[in-house]
Amino acid sequence: MDIHKLQEIVHKTRDARRKQVLPKYTPAERDTLITKYHPDFRENAYRPIKFGPNEGEKTVRELASLLEGDSSVPMDLGLTPAHTCDVLVVGGGGAGCAAALHAHAQGAKVILATKLRLGDSNTVMAQGGMQIAVTKEDSPVTHFLDTLKGGHMKNDHDLLKVMVEEGPSIAKWLLELGVLFDRDADGNLHVKKGGGSSRPRLVTASDYTGLEIMRVLKDEVLNQKIQLLEFSAAVELLSDKGGCTGAVLRDLDNKRFLIVAAKTVILATGGIGRLHIQGFPTSNHYGATGDGLAMSYRMGAKLMHIDTFQYHPSGAVYPEQLIGALVTEGIRSEGGHLVNARGERFVNELDTRDVVSSSIIRECEEGRGIRTMSGRIGIWLDTPLLEAEQGEGTLLKHFPAMVRQYERFGINIAKDPVLIYPTLHYQNGGVKIDTHGESDVKNLFVAGEASGGLHGRNRLMGNSLLDLMVYGKRSGLTAAARAKSMPQGKLTLDHVKKFKDEAKKHRVSSDVVSPMLFPAYAKKE
């Protein structure tokens, strides 16, 4: 059928839906819904990890085989360092830049290595905003409880307390660097309401929050003349008696290995979307392949909550060119409805991401979805409703990025609703860290999406940007201070040898080499 014919039901039912108030699910209803429909509960997608720090624990098959994977580094590689520094930051997104800037400000010699360009990351795409308890009606404690509720009570309390308390000072730091957050008429930070939050708490820069932060941080890293190694992918860590002492990078241009001696290493390598877990499309950037997880696991760092992933409710399903791309949650925050093929709403749109995603999957599996001929399925997000509610031009004013995103493919979101389905968005867990960002491995720090524990089993919208900044900062400061008081350790691959022996003992002969670095999209005959 013609897409406009299918959309008619959304237009026809709009006025009736506007009067509707949908209650949120009770905790018991949430649990039932999630257990039945959330991809985290698809048994056959999971298997136990065969050996290593998380032996016996279950994770998705795609990740398990990477964790058990073999090193790409030959064991007889010469380990003479090409570079020496106090703090090596691996990753050039939000967490990496925050870590590098704070370590540098402490006088540490910092190198920032990244496999793509500085700034290429998931951070740059964040549209919804950054949760910070700044208003009079709000408090860090309320932020803490909201996050805990969203995370199914599994969040690490200490990590979470630190994050919500340091939020306001992070906002101040970013403002001083020239980040332009939206303001109220009185000059205070404007806040929006996010899914799963009891107070409006999202600090935003229109729907370009991540881009605005990333532009500024990138510029600041360049202004501070922090040494950069772009297109240099970390492929292994180096160790001395179990502690981390540097990394082996691979120069992606000449394919040579590059040894970096570092007193401390901060992994800010981000998420795993490009593993396309359970065949899901993803909103993640090209390099989101979980490199940090594989490298730190080999070194003995314990991982946490790696059986849970976030499937963002609104990934684009149509047109084909946008598949997997994120449709901002801001549309729902501002009152946009989710509508099935019968023209009905079926969930309170501001419930947590896992609940909303599960309910969309339910609608589609029970035959109330809308199909595309290429085999996708989804439900409508009623974008024209915002124009009806708040006046013509609302979308262009508040969601310029999204208007542009669809306009490029001939779709006017002010007139036509868009088709969405959950997309693989975020790794809820990651490397276990303490409140300074340090992992179980001495002098190995992890910040941002690569770390785990803080978000429990479901991250709240807007908490990732804050996590990146707070734990980027804390790991940067701690690593810099640590580096001052210690000598550079020896550079060995002993932990890799040990890991290989373990693999042999468990009869794992892996033909998977990790880290993966990039997904294999190029067509080869």
Binding site: R117, V141, R215
Partner: protein, 237 residues
């Protein structure tokens, strides 16, 4: 699984009448499926792309590309991840342009509007050719932005360039060697750091936290058992 409901299936031209189109990538011809993006066409042609890919969602500016459509002499610009191929299209990715970025300590600027001329002395030399505006894949009025920066209207610059993905396509076309995106980034940052009102409530909140205003609440919350926490969470309205 879902019932196969024929009523609710969107027609897709590319599925109904699948067709291959001919494109020219950096001078070499390839057949690729109609309706895919320029990036996917590169992959389809078997090209591994490392330099030139980032977010794949139109935000990072890594995939700046020059393209020309069939029989049209006009060479245009696009972001490869956000553009659909057409039959007869000719394209090539744009390598990074070696534009000069001035370095500065944004917090220490004494007179940011005047400092622009020391940091980017070429900024006022714009000759109004408008090539930068035409080159912008984000349809920003870049030329106007450069002039606004020169005349000190940093606020306007910051608003106009909120959409800027720093792809740098405005830089190689400038006959006055201005890097408009970098000038705009400076003006936007300077505006934020020096000319925007300080949010009083934010400072107030920071002080409350350092003064220990929430200490009591924290002590209470941190010693709750799981059941009590569940209850406290449920009571949040």
């Amino acid at each position: 699984m879902a019932d196969v409901n024929k009523e609710n299936v969107i027609d897709q031209e590319e599925v109904l009448h699948p067709k291959m189109v001919m494109v020219e990538i950096a001078g070499k011809n390839y057949q690729v499926p109609e309706g895919i993006t320029v990036v996917k066409a590169l992959w389809y042609a078997g090209q591994e792309v490392t330099r030139g890919l980032g977010c794949l969602a139109g935000f990072c500016g890594a995939c700046a590309t020059y393209y020309r459509t069939k029989d049209d002499p006009k060479v245009r610009t696009c972001l490869a991840c956000q553009t659909t191929v057409q039959d007869g299209m000719s394209f090539t990715m744009v390598p990074p342009f070696p534009a000069r970025k001035a370095t500065y300590d944004i917090r220490q600027l004494k007179d940011p509007k005047q400092d622009l001329f020391a940091l980017y002395p070429e900024a006022p030399l714009c000759r109004n050719c408008n090539a930068c505006t035409e080159a912008c894949p984000q349809t920003i009025d870049v030329r106007e932005g450069v002039w606004r920066a020169v005349f000190g209207d940093f606020q306007a610059v910051s608003e106009m360039f909120m959409d800027c993905v720093m792809c740098g396509l405005c830089t190689p076309v400038c006959i006055a060697d201005i890097a408009p995106n970098l000038v705009a980034l400076y003006a936007s940052r300077a505006h934020g750091a020096h000319f925007v009102e300080k949010p009083i409530q934010l400072d107030h909140r920071i002080k409350e936290i350092t003064d220990g205003k929430y200490q009591g609440d924290w002590e209470q919350v941190m010693k709750m058992n799981e059941q009590e926490l569940v209850k406290a969470c449920a009571e949040l309205k």
